[in-house]
Structures are given as structure tokens and as C-alpha cells.
Amino acid sequence: MIYTSQALETLIGEFSKLPGIGRKTAQRLALHLLKAESEDAERLAAAILDVKRRIRYCSVCLNITEKDPCSICSDAGRDHASICVVEDPSDVIALEKTNEFHGVYHVLGGALSPLEGITPDQLRVRELLNRLRGGVTEVILAMNPDVEGEATTIYLGNLLKPLGIRVTRIARGVPVGGDLEFADEATLVRALEGRIVV
């Protein structure tokens, strides 16, 4: 035992299992908690347990939620004929912040990755296909603009087009506030491909 307390050792061990947390950071976090008020530590423990007990996946869109279906899927004011397909729940948060999209979402749970061997059966593709039976008119593919996102977009595009549904993808190109001079060829090619009439 490096530390004089088994409890401290256990806490450091648990913190260091978290992504991006090394042993040194884990030690700093544990020592911080040791100095904190007991109520603060209890609130943190309760919040962790609460997340584990109350949060589940929405049975419709597979986003994280406390009630099933989630608040977006159960909102009658939203356009249920338009589904925006994203990789992760964090993408739903990012798109919701824009207040521009009024349809519903489908969370795939990742992206296809030829290099990592992640195939369609490991994502929630079948659940998406099952949703398309209910009067959906447009599927918007909002994947990250990287190779995995590209693979997923190509794959889903090929899969969905024969079903007679309008399949679109979000635009790719120069970021707002960016500078054309410093944009790379790949970004500029995609930006030119996605140009629109003004």
C-alpha cells in the first residue's frame, strides 16, 4: 500500500479508471475530496448514483433520458416525419443548442469504423430502419466530418435511398469565422461541392 489509508487508495484507483485521468490526477482529485466538506462529498456520491439509477436510453431515439420516451420524442409540437441521425447523445445537445432543428433524432451509438472493425450490426441501424415505417419523409445524416462519419454516411445513404425517403446530409466546409486562405484542399473541395444558390 502506497498510501496510509486503504480507503484513499481505493478512491484513487477508482478515479484513475475514468477516461483521461491518470494516477497523478486521480490522487489530486481524491485529496481534494478529502479536504472538502462531508456534504460536498455526499452530494457528489449521490449525483453519481442518481445518474446510474435514473438515466436510461429512450426506446424511440436511443438518446439518454430520465423518462421514456424522452422529452423530444414525446413532444407533439415537433416534426416526427423528419429524423436527424447522429452518432452520440452529445451531438443531440449540440444540435438542440441551435434551436434550428424541429424534427426528432436517432442516436446510432457511434460510427462505422473499417479500421476498428465496427460494423453496422454493432450500431442501432436496425432500430432506425424500424422507425422509418411510420410516415418518415426525411432522414438527415449528421455525422462527424471524419472518415468514420463518412463511412457511416455512405453506408446509410445506400441503405435508405431505395426506401423512397429523402436522405440528406449536413453541409461540410469552411467554418463560420474561418479564413479561406487557411482552409485545406479537402475542406474547400467539400465546400464547393455543397455550394448553394444565393
Binding site: 483521461g20 462505422l112 469504423s113 473499417p114 479500421l115 476498428e116 472493425g117 465496427i118 460494423t119 453496422p120 450490426d121 441501424v125 436496425r126 430502419l129 424500424n130 415505417r133 466530418p145 471524419d146 472518415v147 463518412e150 463511412a151 455512405i154 453506408y155 445506400n158 441503405l159 431505395p162 426506401l163 467554418p175 469565422g177 474561418g178 487557411f182 482552409a183 485545406d184 484542399e185 479537402a186 475542406t187 473541395v189
Partner: protein, 268 residues
């Protein structure tokens, strides 16, 4: 520490901390190497979308021999392969080429012939009217040759007589020894051939493979042949490379290709 410049093809990129990436390159001058690209995930980063697998770049980096991870200071496209992501077949084969390089090549083992083969093969895949599976077979075969495992398509392993592939219909090929067995010797050896790990391959397939050792990636990518032959030569190259490289057990990108023909409810 020195500042170096080299052409490089991105094999892999993983996120590092909040805004950086660790990128694995196959470079012209230093072979396979990894480097940190600080701030590469920032939307307004000067690196933009450069550090994506399959990109053919010129990189400038700080090199220290004792360090496993170098630092990339700047980068630019040498050539942007625009069509590699246009369909699943092309994309999966392109990814399989960089996966093979990542698994077969060792760190900092310079091999300009392999770099040129990879760059030209990706360039061929990017071209119009090409067959991605031809490129896979051509690349794998010529990679084996560049690594010193040249297959023999000319003489019988057993009697050393030249094999006339125009006259033969099917031959046995002993992958481990890298050579075919003529029809006459096949009847003599029979059982021994199977225990030596020999498998049957059609003479036209061997003829195509023989021609692929002389063709450029661009010419091989356009070669017309029946799909069955394409599958046969690709299968041969995969088995051959797997046997001789020692580090290639499976190609995940090809597994992806095989499973991407997905059924959907109500599909006729």
C-alpha cells in the same frame, strides 16, 4: 533535435486530450512514425481536416530519435484523394491498404518503394473506371515483393521445370514456399501437397497475378476480368501476405466490406 520535412500518408489518428491528435503516418523518409498534432481538433486549427486516414500530405516535424512521439509543426496536402469516400467498396479497399501497412511495417523502417506503392495505389483507387479489388490484389502482391517475399509463378517447386500457364487449367500453389506445382508433379505428390498447405488456383488467376508484378497500380486498377477471377486473385494475395508477413491475421476493413451488405426490414 532537428526539423524535418517528408511526404506522408495518414494511417491512423486518435484523439489526444481535449484538442490534439496522435497521428500515425507512413512517411517517405522515415517509414512508419507517430506524432502529436497539437490543437488539431480545434475547428479553426491550421491543420484543418488534414489528419484524416488516407490523406497524402507533406509534413514538417521536430524529430528527436530518442522520442517515440514526434511533434508536427505544419502540414499541407500533396494530393487530395477526393473519390476514395465515394462508395463503400472503394473506401473499404483504401482503408484495407493503410491497415495492411500499419500492421506489416515496423516503426521508422524506411522503404521508399513501399511508400510509392501505397501512394500510387491510393491514387489508382481514386481514379475513374477502376476496379478496387484489382488494386487490393496488385498492392498486396507488390508489397510482398517489396518486403522480399517474391512469389514464383514461373517454375514448378518440385521439378523446377517452367510451368506453361497458357496450357494448364488449375495448379496447386504452396504458399509457404511461394511457388506452384506443375500438373505432372501434382499427381506424384498428391497427399503431400495438402499437408504442405497447398491450395488450388486457376491458371488464368496466376497469369493475372504474374502480369500484376509488372503493371503499374493505375494500369492494374483498370484491368478487365470476370468478378470470380478478381475474387480469386484477391483471396490468393491475402493468404500469401498473411503467411509471409507474420503480423497480419485479419483485415478489419475487409470484414467491414463483407458485412456492409446489410438487409433491412421489407427488403425484397
Amino acid at each position: 533535435m532537428s526539423i524535418e520535412k517528408t511526404e506522408a500518408i495518414v494511417l491512423r489518428a486518435v484523439n489526444y486530450r481535449d484538442s490534439s491528435k496522435i497521428v500515425t503516418f507512413y512517411t517517405k523518409r522515415y517509414g512508419k512514425m507517430s506524432a502529436i498534432a497539437k490543437g488539431a481538433r480545434n475547428p479553426k486549427s491550421k491543420f484543418g481536416s488534414l489528419f484524416q486516414p488516407l490523406n497524402y500530405l507533406q509534413i514538417v516535424f521536430y524529430r528527436r530519435e530518442s522520442r517515440e512521439l514526434q511533434y508536427v509543426s505544419s502540414s499541407d496536402f500533396v494530393r487530395y484523394f477526393k473519390s476514395l469516400t465515394s462508395d463503400v467498396d472503394r473506401f473499404s479497399i483504401a482503408m484495407s491498404l493503410i491497415e495492411i501497412i500499419n500492421r506489416v511495417m515496423h516503426d521508422e523502417e524506411e522503404n521508399e518503394a513501399v511508400f510509392t506503392l501505397l501512394a500510387d495505389s491510393l491514387g489508382a483507387l481514386d481514379g475513374p473506371d477502376t476496379f478496387p479489388r484489382n488494386t487490393f490484389a496488385h498492392f498486396g502482391l507488390n508489397l510482398a515483393i517489396a518486403l522480399g517475399f517474391t512469389p514464383n509463378f514461373a517454375e514448378c517447386l518440385h521439378c523446377s521445370e517452367p510451368i506453361d500457364l497458357e496450357k494448364e487449367r488449375k495448379v496447386y500453389y504452396v504458399v509457404e514456399k511461394g511457388g506452384p506445382v506443375c500438373e505432372k508433379c501434382t499427381s506424384v505428390l498428391s497427399e503431400g501437397l495438402h499437408s504442405a498447405g497447398a491450395f488450388e488456383i486457376s491458371a488464368p488467376a496466376l497469369l493475372i497475378l504474374r502480369s500484376f508484378t509488372r503493371l503499374t497500380p493505375a494500369a492494374a486498377a483498370r484491368a478487365q476480368m470476370e468478378q470470380a477471377l478478381r475474387n480469386e486473385i484477391s483471396n490468393f494475395v491475402f493468404i500469401y501476405l498473411k503467411k509471409h508477413s507474420g503480423t497480419l491475421k485479419e483485415i478489419k476493413a475487409l470484414k467491414f466490406l463483407a458485412t456492409s451488405q446489410y438487409d433491412w426490414p421489407g427488403k425484397e
